[in-house]
Symmetry: D2
Subunit: 266 residues, 4 copies
């Protein structure tokens, strides 16, 4: 069935013949394998260009920062899935990745969109505070929350934030989105009525956008990072299985608040 107008598939990422696999204009076997690291390769696949040393440092740092935070819901979902379906590691990884949604890890992307909107206003001549305030108020007016601030566990500014900012400064990449992120942080009490500190989902786009990473691909960063963590958890699950233990613990205090048939539990 024809859906939409495009009928011929096009891609600029890769092609191949019997002898050569081409990735972004390079011969994979001759120019890339053993010549560049995997994170550089990811940047190349995504943007068509190799990263500068500074860009690569920042991208590596963000992937390291967001990869692992213990038995979070997505790692739990993956370990439960693997316990039930141990023959299909790909299924358990997929179950974990499906938890990279708007509430949990998607904030990196939405915070990046917030900062980009503010940046556009600044480019148009507005001072940073006015631009930030205006965009924050726009977002609140249509019922959207301000992403990238606050954390259920880390009430102070998450230590990962300053670590990422340090990397960006040392890498020499553009810091203007860091300034925007901090301007937003300073305005949070005024706009939403309480103090919320920058979290890692705010820090990631603020350093990555300055490193030339495309805003529309930001969600890919937590997805790729968490995939590494999911694989580690599933490898641990093979020798130290806890998938069913997590599920057992989860419902020990479960309350059933529906109806019961006569005589149940008698």
């Amino acid at each position: 069935m024809k859906i939409g107008k495009v009928t011929v598939p096009r891609t600029a990422i890769s092609t191949s013949d019997e002898h050569t696999i081409v990735v972004r204009g390079r011969d994979l076997s001759k120019e890339l394998i053993g010549k560049i690291g995997f994170v550089d390769h990811f940047f190349l696949l995504l943007t068509g260009a190799l990263p500068s040393e500074g860009q690569a440092r920042v991208l590596n740092a963000t992937l390291v920062a967001i990869a692992e935070h213990g038995l979070v819901p997505s790692n739990q979902a993956a370990r439960m899935t693997f316990a039930a379906a141990p023959d299909a590691m790909q299924g358990a990884v997929a179950a974990g990745i499906l938890g990279c949604g708007s509430v949990i890890l998607g904030a990196s992307e939405t915070a990046g969109r917030l900062y980009s909107e503010i940046d556009t206003r600044i480019a148009g001549g507005e001072p940073i505070e006015a631009a930030s305030l205006a965009v924050m108020q726009d977002w609140r007016a249509v019922g959207k929350s301000i992403p990238g601030y606050g954390h259920p566990l880390h009430k102070e500014r998450d230590a990962r934030v300053d670590a990422l900012f340090d990397v960006a400064r040392a890498a020499g990449t553009d810091l203007r989105f860091v300034k925007i992120a901090e301007a937003v942080e300073a305005l949070i009490p005024q706009v939403i009525g309480k103090t919320l500190k920058l979290n890692v989902s705010g820090a990631i786009p603020s350093v990555l956008l300055g490193a030339g990473f495309p805003v529309a691909a930001l969600k890919g960063v937590p997805i790729l990072a968490r995939t590494a963590s999911l694989i580690a958890h599933l490898y641990e699950e093979m020798t130290q299985p806890i998938g069913f233990a997590l599920s057992y613990q989860a419902t020990r205090e479960m309350v059933y608040d529906g109806e019961l048939p006569e005589g149940f539990g008698a």
Copy 2:
């Protein structure tokens, strides 16, 4: 519900308190972010130890080698899924990862198991050819194919194979699984009656096992690598949508060989 005997979940990968996230015994913000690359971090998450420079080179090379091969089925599935559900990048990545199965990318893991079995026999004193032949015949006897050899497109030895072997030699990691992989390649005509050359799914475990990568986690390498590629394809899909065009082309020559109601098409 209690399933199995373990009731208390344990993990050695990560813990945290309000101030510190611990990953494999290290303070994430102070010791890891900006200090190590993402691939080193993956190795650390998985094994509990940082890789040597040689181990990291080999792991990077394998991830680069397997990340991208054009509009393969899993990239097609992901782009079709994204065209239908553009709000959920994680869902399209998951759909692509679900295609890392036994037929397509799982051969890295099964080839690794084949080489490990041969290695065990060699460690027990058998010569490499005898050990290889014995294991290959065992596998064939129970109906299993020999994974890691042959490719629908690359009839000669896939250029990625030699590139990976070159990296392993330069990195100074253990080459004994490379020798096993080549011994198996030489015996293929005798065992299965035709010539099949080493492919990338054979080369990956042969260099990774020599670099201390755990055999049970081998499937994680194509999964992580392809995730990077999937994100690049979905980013391209945002500006150059082809998901529905792929689907349209796929069925242009479709044959319906079932029954038809009277008058259909009249």
Copy 3:
């Protein structure tokens, strides 16, 4: 980690002890198995009450209507995934379900929300045309399209629409959302400047809302229906494998519009 305020899980759907599984207050083995059909059971699970005969007829009809439409993108994605990972049927089904997104099958839910908004205005005293026009204009003003109208293949009103309306009339369920759906259809030319006829994604919520199906669960109807179809396609794939043929056809006319290394294809 504690996320949010709720710490004790509650559910009203099911509980059990060693002897009895309770579903919505009933003894599963004594009161449900063999006593009610699966679609009635779905309605019970979802709403806590058994459907009337009319409600069951309408729900069955919508599930039949949306289950199958040939080798659509999600069935293709599932068959490609199964070809690559034949050991994990659940993974191939999941890949297909992931294509039930906002663009393809999600329109049932969004059309249901549109009709509910109009219904609320009518309940407040507005005439049906005025209420419909107002809500349609509101949606267009914020950039949302009007879901449930038009089809790439069926330019006339899709025959499934009238079939579903006939079922609703015969079943005696509330027809007010059908009237709303038709009022919207009549206003489409005025609001968006071209004629688009009701499609199956508009018809489904218009009959289901009248049958007491909750609007927030509407997306579950195409998901459940397509799961049945996906299983049929995967069963066919076992004996008549076309997953890789679909993928091959999809890229036969593929255009690579990126760069090439010197000498490629020579």
Copy 4:
């Protein structure tokens, strides 16, 4: 890329033109919508024929029997996923389905294969006990467990088993696989050294195979049934969110048994 020999996709399930959608030779809108129930439609999609009344009763009963069993791991995984990604119901359903694996719900299919092997021997003239014992011993000899017996909660024969057997008897479908299932149950103590009673995963194939349901599609039954339950749980999650509470409870007694950096927790 061409993988395998088939290049032209074929299907016998469905085709369509501008006016008519054909499903298994029937006009969907004229012959199926409102005329047959969804479970009959599933049987038709799968096998190409409408079920008899008895076949439909048995299939309905198995789907009802396996749909729901409270906050099992797959429902937990789905609710956690939905809490993190509430915009994508399809992703949360997919995460739940991915837990229909070999350990948890796949036993329906493997038990069906066990019974089919026994049935083949009986058809060849062996008495039922001898045939059952031989196949059970074959399976144990290659390290496979006997699927369909024992349950972590229901130590007596699960009440769902007798309910399903009653349905099969009343429906008049073939009971020979029920007899095989009971013969296996009686031999379990002799073959594995302890008593394990028939569970629902053994009962489902034993009644479905007798109702003409294809053994290779058996895994589809728990997948379809659980999809209904997953949708109900996600609908409850919208108004009574517990996804994060489950995750919080799951790790309250979590033990971190890895290393710690100096000063952690001080």
